[in-house]
């Protein structure tokens, strides 16, 4: 093909999926591509999809790691259903990932890794993988490994280190395809390998060679340009994952409340990155303790809360089970505590690296006794910041444990985030006792407006007191098993939580206010449901979306809003937990359900088909 024939096409969006062995550096390549795309003003949404094993046997089907990036000129809500470009570094990746590739897409494979032995490891029946898999897509066979070796033959690096750079060749090629400038990528590599300049230089060299390979050979008929048309708010932006945004929300809440941040945690996928992030920031006075178990994570946080810190514990489903009894202590002692559950596939060990929304009822009701706890769900990677901040505010100001639900999809996924100005966030006022209260104060004396008790922390003279898990007299605060008092305290604890609704934003309906179908969701599925709603609207369907961030208590206008619509469908990644909860809370409500529980994000096509079908039903 001559240079004259080569074209640059302008496109609105593209989905790229890097896949390879879990040791092939696909997450890094994907991360760099998403960051440099965001840097030029595109919108991004990412989906890391990796196996639970750290290093499954090389070249096998179980060891394939993927990273999908959705880049677009306008608002992006999801990481995309099918990719337009699939990079498969080995036959195992090709075999497991081809199902995620659009039939009209392009597949790039490393032709050096398709030897007979590689095919056998990936359990092919024949020695012709393209035919065997029935691949219809355009397949670009690139000798990535050998070009990478050639590129670094004078680098002085050993063979193993050289081969490790091959992900950068693939990245360079993709950068060329989409007209990405390499400067930002080089900066990221220099930073990542700051302590190993030789490795940084090698990666940068291979990255450039991959780029030039594309440019020189015109590897594909045209390259693409993704314009930035979306008028985003002016300001500074960064790329952020949900777990990092959650960590930042906690740090912001600590600063605004004037309380020191304590995190008691035990490593668990996919929540551990919050512990990693917070552990870095000792210069902000953050105290992170990697405890001996999940229970100690929660119990030590309760101790820290008793002593006056903003106390947090982070976990995923199995850990939430273990923390249950301690959470009940915080309910009974009425201490501020934030429990963050980054949901993964369950029950038990389940699908540790996959996403799911099936801990909702556990968060709401998974405790003994009448044990009301506010439950808040983050809706997107960037929303994790606001959700964590508001969860902290509620916990501290209302003296209660709060459960914040995130999930694997939004925790590991990332998108562009406008750096917040804390001046625009509401204050957080810890309800400390005041010295003048000392004479008449009792531990369970309550603020009449919020019904929450006051916080008297050790070290404060004149407020020595004892609290604990036993029922206490509502007036004196001493142990009481008086029947009337228990009934009163149960109700008080419930009312205290119910009253939080007074401060919550109302539920909003996005889309047609007189829609024929109201789509209802909660938490991390916001992007998918919003996109489907917008797409259906464009096709002339009258649809709307009501997406819940506050689950307990529900926004005060929930019943009124839902009552306005004839058809309602609740879409969630479980067997209908939120749908059931709404039925319990809103008498006589008639709702349909869409439930997928396969560990993967919703598919736009499947949602659209289902909702269209519901619209057509009489």
């Amino acid at each position: 093909m001559s240079k004259e024939e080569f074209t640059i096409k302008e496109i609105e969006q593209v989905v790229v999926r890097f896949s390879g062995d879990s040791g092939d550096g696909m997450q890094l390549a994907g991360n760099i591509f998403s960051t440099i795309s965001a840097t030029v003003g595109n919108n991004i949404c990412t989906l890391p999809d990796f196996p639970a094993d750290i290093r499954a046997p090389q070249g096998t089907l179980s060891g394939v790691s993927g990273f999908q990036i959705h880049v677009g000129s306008e608002q992006i809500y999801t990481s995309g259903d099918l990719c337009n470009v699939l990079i498969a570094m080995n036959p195992a990746a090709l075999k497991t990932q081809i199902k995620y590739c659009d039939p009209k897409g392009i597949v790039i494979v490393d032709s050096n890794s398709f030897k007979d032995s590689d095919l056998i490891k990936a359990e092919y029946a024949t020695m012709n993988p393209i035919e065997e898999l029935g691949i219809k897509q355009e397949v670009l066979q690139v000798a990535i490994t050998s070009m990478c070796k050639e590129s670094l033959k004078d680098s002085g690096l050993d063979n193993k280190s050289i081969i490790r750079c091959k992900n950068m060749f693939a990245l360079g090629l993709v950068c060329w395809m989409f007209g990405r400038n390499l400067d930002a990528a080089e900066n990221m590599l220099n930073e990542k390998f700051a302590k190993k300049p030789q490795i940084a230089a090698a990666n940068i060299k291979v990255l450039n060679d991959g780029y030039h390979f594309g440019a020189n050979t015109h590897a594909i008929a045209s390259s693409y340009k993704i314009e930035c048309t979306d008028k985003k708010e002016k300001g500074l932006y960064m790329d952020i994952t949900g777990n990092k945004a959650t960590s930042y929300g906690l740090i912001a809440a600590s600063e605004k409340s004037g309380l020191e941040l304590y995190l008691g945690s035990y490593p668990i996928t996919p929540a551990t990155d919050i512990l990693h992030e917070l552990a870095k920031h000792k210069s902000l006075g953050i105290k992170t303790v990697q405890c001996e178990d999940e229970i100690a994570g929660c119990a030590s946080a309760i101790g820290a809360a008793f002593a006056g810190d903003f106390a947090v514990t982070t976990t995923s489903g199995p850990g939430l089970c273990l923390k249950t009894e301690a959470i009940n202590l915080a309910v009974m002692a009425e201490l501020p505590l934030l429990i963050i559950d980054v949901q993964r596939g369950g029950p038990s060990t389940g699908l540790p690296t996959k996403t799911e929304q099936a801990d909702l009822l556990q968060a709401l009701y998974g405790r003994s006794g009448e044990s009301p706890v506010p439950v808040i769900a983050a809706t997107s990677p960037t929303n994790c910041f606001d959700a964590a901040y508001m969860a902290a505010k509620i916990a501290i100001e209302h003296m209660t444990p709060v459960i914040l639900l995130s999930d694997t999809f939004i925790a590991n996924g990332s998108s562009a985030w406008k750096l917040p100005d804390l001046k625009n966030y509401p204050p957080i006022n810890p309800p400390f006792v005041k010295p003048e209260m000392a004479a008449t104060w009792t531990p369970y004396q309550r603020d009449v407006k919020t019904d929450s008790r006051y916080w008297a922390i050790p070290g404060t003279k004149g407020f020595e007191h004892c609290i604990g898990g036993l029922e206490k007299d509502s007036k004196t605060g001493v142990i009481s098993s008086n029947p009337e008092n228990h009934q009163k305290m149960v109700l008080l604890r419930q009312t205290k939580i119910d009253k939080i609704a007074d401060k919550l934003p109302e539920l909003k309906v996005i889309g047609d206010q007189d829609a024929d179908l109201l789509i209802v969701g909660w938490g991390g599925t916001y992007g998918h449901l919003r996109l489907v709603m917008e797409m259906m609207k464009k096709k002339g369907k009258k649809v709307a979306l009501a997406h819940f961030q506050y689950i307990n208590p529900l926004p005060k206008n929930t019943a009124e809003v839902l009552g306005r619509f004839k058809k309602i469908v609740v879409a969630e990644q479980n067997l209908g937990q939120f749908a059931g909860y709404l039925r319990m809370k809103i008498h006589g409500i008639n709702i349909k359900q869409f439930n997928r529980i396969n560990g993967q994000p919703f598919l736009i096509s499947e949602l659209t088909d289902t909702f269209n079908q519901i619209l057509e039903e009489k």
């Binding site: 300001g235 405890c291 020595e464």
Partner: protein, 336 residues
């Protein structure tokens, strides 16, 4: 500033509801005495307990108190100490609370060397649940849950504490108030996790479990009070002593076989190697006297101090000290 002296009354509140004759009464008395003699202000003192008879204790101390959940007191105390290292924290657990359901927190608090005082009230029985064997009950012990005798060996709390790299271990008998007070004061003065094993009787479900140590006379015969730098002598008239015998200890009588005080081992609680201290802690009647007093007391960095130091150092080193500065450490781009 003039130091305020506190009286034992300043630490007393409520009416204890333990059974008459329970070791918890005298232990509470000793703890309050220790608090008064240490004169740490009640508002800077925190008593944190788990669940069980002895874990009711915070309700009777006029300090800050937290009666938590079964087994988790050490974890709660850890968080409280890290939140505010100025606090003096007494963590109270029984043998079930501390060594069965709370065993994991017990060993890890000790390993971290968090600066709390762990008080282990050992009556070798579950009292509050009405008489089941505990992790310190002897093999063969008959109880409601072991009607034919237990078929498991007990923990020796000292062995567990030493195994978890414990730096302070003391033992006392609850009814022996002066010695208990002294042990508690030593525990409070020690920086790091201090474990005090308090041997106590349960009148109802395990009466007589420490009969051999219950009275002054019995203790003179059957126990040895270890004192730093002093020879290991015991007996009604200090007529007996401990000597080394190969890798073991042996009981000797002064005057017999030309043995004089010079031949007797000298107690060194500060010795970093715990070999001899463990031998002492594991001594049992009738062959040996039971060791009482501060058996081990060795300095080591505490978790809370190390954390504060690390925060200080990193604060000095890093250039960001608030949320805004943290944000600006990221790769950002500008939309105009």
């Amino acid at each position: 500033m003039e130091e305020i002296k506190y009286d034992i009354k300043d630490y007393k509140t409520g009416q204890p509801r333990w059974c008459p004759g329970c070791g918890d009464h005298s232990f509470l008395n000793a703890l309050q005495r220790a608090m008064a003699e240490l004169s740490i202000p009640p508002y800077e003192t925190v008593v944190i307990s788990g669940i069980g008879c002895s874990s009711r204790l915070p309700y009777y101390a006029k300090t800050y108190g937290f009666h938590t959940i079964h087994g988790r007191a050490a974890a709660v105390a850890t968080g409280a100490k890290i939140a505010n290292s100025k606090l003096t924290i007494w963590q109270v657990s029984g043998d079930g609370d501390g060594l069965a359901i709370g065993g994991n927190h017990f060993i890890h608090a000790i390993r971290r060397n968090i600066d709390i005082n762990m008080l282990l009230l050992n009556n070798r029985i579950y009292g509050l649940t009405k008489g089941q064997y505990s992790p310190t009950s002897a093999r063969g012990f008959v109880s409601k849950s072991s009607p034919y005798g237990t078929i498991e060996d007990p923990f020796h709390p000292a062995e567990l504490a030493f195994g978890a790299r414990g730096r302070f271990f003391a033992r006392c008998v609850a009814v022996d108030i002066p010695a208990t007070t002294a042990a508690l004061k030593a525990a409070a003065r020690h920086k790091g996790t201090s474990v005090v094993e308090i041997l106590q009787n349960c009148m109802i479900f395990n009466n007589g479990t420490y009969e051999n140590l219950a009275t002054k006379e019995n203790r003179a015969k059957n126990a040895i009070y270890l004192e730093q730098g002093k020879p290991m002598l015991f007996g009604e008239h200090n007529e007996c002593g401990l000597m080394q015998d190969g890798f073991n200890l042996k009981v000797v009588k002064l005057g017999q076989n030309n043995i004089t005080e010079k031949d007797i081992l000298i107690h060194d609680a500060h010795c970093i190697d715990h070999t001899l201290q463990l031998k002492l802690a594991l001594m049992e009647n009738p062959e040996f006297p039971v060791a009482l007093g501060v058996i081990r007391d060795v300095d080591a960095p505490t978790y809370n101090e190390a954390l504060e130091k690390q925060i200080e150092e990193i604060t000095e080193k890093k250039k960001y000290h608030n949320f805004h500065e943290l944000l600006m450490t990221n790769d950002t781009w500008k939309i105009e």
